[in-house]
Amino acid sequence: MKSKQAGSSIKRGLAAVAAVFTLMAGTAIAADPIKVGSFLSVTGPAAFLGDPEQKTLELYVEKINAAGGVLGRKLELVAYDSGGNAEKARTFVKRLIEQDKVDVIVGGSTTGETMAVVPLVEAAQVPFISLAGAVVIVEPVKKWVFKTPHTDRMACEKIFIDMQSRKFSKIALISGPGGFDKSMRGQCLGVAKKYGIEVIADETYGGGDTDMTAQLTKIKNTAGVQAVLNAGFGQGPAIVTKNYRQIGVSMPLYQSHGVASKEFIKLAGPAAEGVRLPAAALLVADSLPQSDAQRSVVVSYKNEYESRFKSEVSTFGGHAYDGLYIVVEAMKKAGGTDKAKVRDAIEATHGFMGTAGVFNMSPTDHMGLDLSAFRMLEVKGGNWTLVK
Amino acid sequence: MSLLRVECLSKKFGGVNAIDDLSFDIPPGAVYSIIGPNGAGKTTLLNLLTGVYVPSAGSIVFDGHDLTGRAPYEYASHGVARTFQNLQVFFNMSALENVMVGRYMHERCGLASTLMRMPRLSRTERACREEAAELLRYVGLRDYLSVGADAMPYGALKRLEIARALATRPKLMLLDEPAAGLNPTEALELDDLIGRLTGRGVTVVLVEHNMRLVMGVSDNILVLDYGRKLAEGPALSVRNDPKVIEAYLGSDIARDGSYGKDIADVVSVAVEMHR
């Protein structure tokens, strides 16, 4: 008796859900504005990426529309919060493609969610600019997938070059639990040899860990370590930095571009002094020489963002800026929103000056940045400074 | 020949001997009652005799099988069934289903044929349902066939447990205070029911405070005190045993007044006997 009732009430329930679906379907008729789809980790462990990215997209879509839009059409941003969950990202990308019928996608804060949706955008043939770091996104090249941040491999290389110049050859690695951390760890282990660097200690910490002194003590007691590299983002690196000073390790500490924001210095406090990391020029916008070609772009982005949101700019939001403008430029070049033409135009991006550096894409390079786009920074007096 | 042989059985709870070096035999076909003051270890003994507790020492041999230390379901599979003082009815099922659970051992089949719902299973299910209904009628619960156990009165639940125990087709049935909480009419009906059980060839072990019931139906009585055997024998001889009277009169009132009515019963019976 009970389950018969149950059966009929499911039917009702499903019918109601289906009705809602059809209603939602009905709203997607007008195709007049250019639709830019996005899915970002606005909440969850990667919120520090997704949050500034979303804000940047909103800010600049508004700005572009205020200036008359693109090709006489307004931009419409359709953004979903994936919470850093690859499954959710997949579903939202289906929604963007099938339901919202977006013209292009700029999003994907993390590598995991980016890679999860790659098969979808490839199948649906929608140009997609990822804002995530790992090199696997563009290597091997996927026809419809591009990315704007520097790769983790480049970060490793930049750091190793700096280490080389300081005559370090034996280092320790400590990395977090996230995809970014693991991927960067893998890349660093992969390219270390090329720079004559040997990783003699390799430790990890877990998500939500409150203390890393145990791992660092182990590193401290490993004979021969000359420098330590921490691949990670979020609160982990801040705790590592604090614990590092607490147990009195004197070797130089390198962080990754995953903490390239003022917030890191705030979180780690005085312990951050002397920490080096590779990052885009954005973090040192004001101290760039007037002659620097990048200066005008990064200074204006920094000012726009900080005056609007009253919070410090990060390189992550910059990646969204770069992605959005590469797409806009490509549409202008393609003279419309034809997906294949826009894709070709993105691939032909040349000499575009973004917050991350100069983009020169090609059929074999869907990122288009080189090592020169990275600057080595050091925390001095509670601020980022360029390492000369 | 005995159906159940208990030798030197002991059970300790943190240094206290709840059952202390107890030995007895139960012949088949009898009604064997276990009485004793509160805390004498009667329920502990039943728990030992059904595998709910593992004995600290001693052995339990049932129907020629040494079951010492075995799990309750193994006791059941050899033909030991029981009811509980604190009801262990399946309140999430109907009365009928409760009894059907009791048929479990005689009906179960392989996982694969269960999942695929083989036709054979439907047939045995139907037979099981009918037999369970028959048993409910047998214990006088014909009105409760499809009623949820959570909606049944206390007296009916006690009989439901008996029906469930019967469904296992036991050789030995242990009843833990079946009359507790019943009104006099229901208690009388119980008398009759126990009589019919032995008629079916089931040996009955009865733990009970209601002395009229015990004296009326028992072939043999075991009197426990502090986990030890105080007396054992036919109803008449136990009644007249001064040690038994002493135990009941001397200790129970002082120890615990909660079973006042039972004590009064015992006292009146004992005093009557002594005259």
């Binding site: 606005v42 909440t43 969850g44 462990p45 919120a47 520090f48 949050d51 430790e203 990890t204 910490y205 877990g206 998500g207 939500g208 860990d209 409150t210 203390d211 002194t213 145990a214 791992q215 003590t217 182990k218 007691n221 979020g234 609160q235 801040a238 705790i239 604090k242 000073r245 607490q246 147990i247 009195g248 917030e263 705030k266 979180l267 780690a268 406090g269 005085p270 312990a271 | 329920t43 728990n47 709910v52 509980f84 003082q85 604190n86 262990q88």
Partner: protein, 291 residues
């Protein structure tokens, strides 16, 4: 070698003390209601985040901290009043799902009221490491250990010496009997939520200067606190403290001597092994049901 050991031990004790505070919160609510309050971690978060925002608003710690604790306690009371109380009589699993819902709600609320970023809290008394036997300890870790000790003592006094505390203890042993002797069981339930929320908040405030805090720190700390409470034996105060310390030390020792990647897994294996031999945890109530 031994300096290394001391370092692991000090770290483990600090982390473990925090787990212990969270576990105590679990146990107090469990005793009053037999509910595992999965929103316990959110109290930790509220404590830390409220202190961050209050001190950012210019309040000194002496004001900000008590206010944050009161705020968390109020949230705990509200949780009891508006979510647990109306569901009285529901099954334990249902109540657990309600607290999971509450924890998602509170996290969402915190995200809207505050933000999604990590925040640092200044240590109470500087951050110059103090050397101990070749290892070092932060002054804040001493605060963590000291305050935890003080709380454990205070709770011992509360449950052993005060009427309300005894009433709460009595309720946990036998709810019906407690009701019969005139204890207001609903009041006990209410107070227990307030008390464990306050404990959670204290944990959150103590640890924030060491680890930073954000709207979702409660998830992991709540989980670890639950693990500690189970390890020690649900409902046992001693168990919660011992469970927390053992868990914390097990984690750092595994990270230090075995594998940092699997340190949490090792900690959970230890818990599973303990439960295999002691199915009610280290100090849990023994004995089965009576039949």
């Amino acid at each position: 070698m031994s300096a290394q050991f001391v370092q692991y031990l000090l770290t483990g004790l600090t982390v473990g003390a925090i787990y212990a505070l969270v576990a105590l919160g679990f146990s107090i609510i469990f005793n009053a209601s037999h509910v595992i309050n999965f929103a316990q971690g959110e109290f930790v978060m509220i404590g830390g985040m409220a202190t961050v925002s209050l001190s950012a608003a210019g309040l000194p710690y002496l004001l900000a901290i008590p206010l944050a604790i009161v705020a968390a306690a109020l949230v705990g009371l509200a949780l009891e009043k508006f979510a647990v109380e109306p569901a009285r009589g529901a099954s334990v699993v249902t109540l657990i799902i309600i607290t999971i819902g509450a924890s998602i709600f509170l996290r969402g609320l915190a995200m809207v009221i505050w933000d999604k970023r990590f925040h640092a809290l200044k240590p109470f008394t500087g951050d110059t490491p103090i050397p101990i036997g070749g290892a070092t300890i932060l002054p804040q870790s001493l605060w963590v250990l000291g305050v935890t000790l003080a709380i454990v003592l205070a709770l011992t006094w509360f449950f052993g010496r005060t009427l309300l505390g005894k009433a709460m203890l009595a309720t946990s042993h036998n709810r019906l009997a407690a009701q019969l002797v005139g204890i207001n069981v609903r009041m006990v339930l209410f107070v227990s939520f307030g008390l464990s929320a306050a404990l959670g908040a204290v944990a959150g405030i103590l640890i924030a200067p060491i680890t930073t805090t954000s709207y979702d720190v409660g998830v992991m700390l709540g989980l670890k606190g639950f693990a500690a409470a189970i390890l020690g034996g649900l409902g046992s105060g001693v168990g919660a403290v011992v469970g927390g310390l053992v868990l914390g030390i097990a984690e750092t020792m595994s990270a230090g001597y075995l594998s940092s990647a699997y340190k949490d897994a090792i900690a959970f294996v230890i818990i599973l092994v303990v439960l295999f031999f002691l199915p009610s945890g280290l100090f849990g109530k023994r004995g089965g049901e009576r039949v």
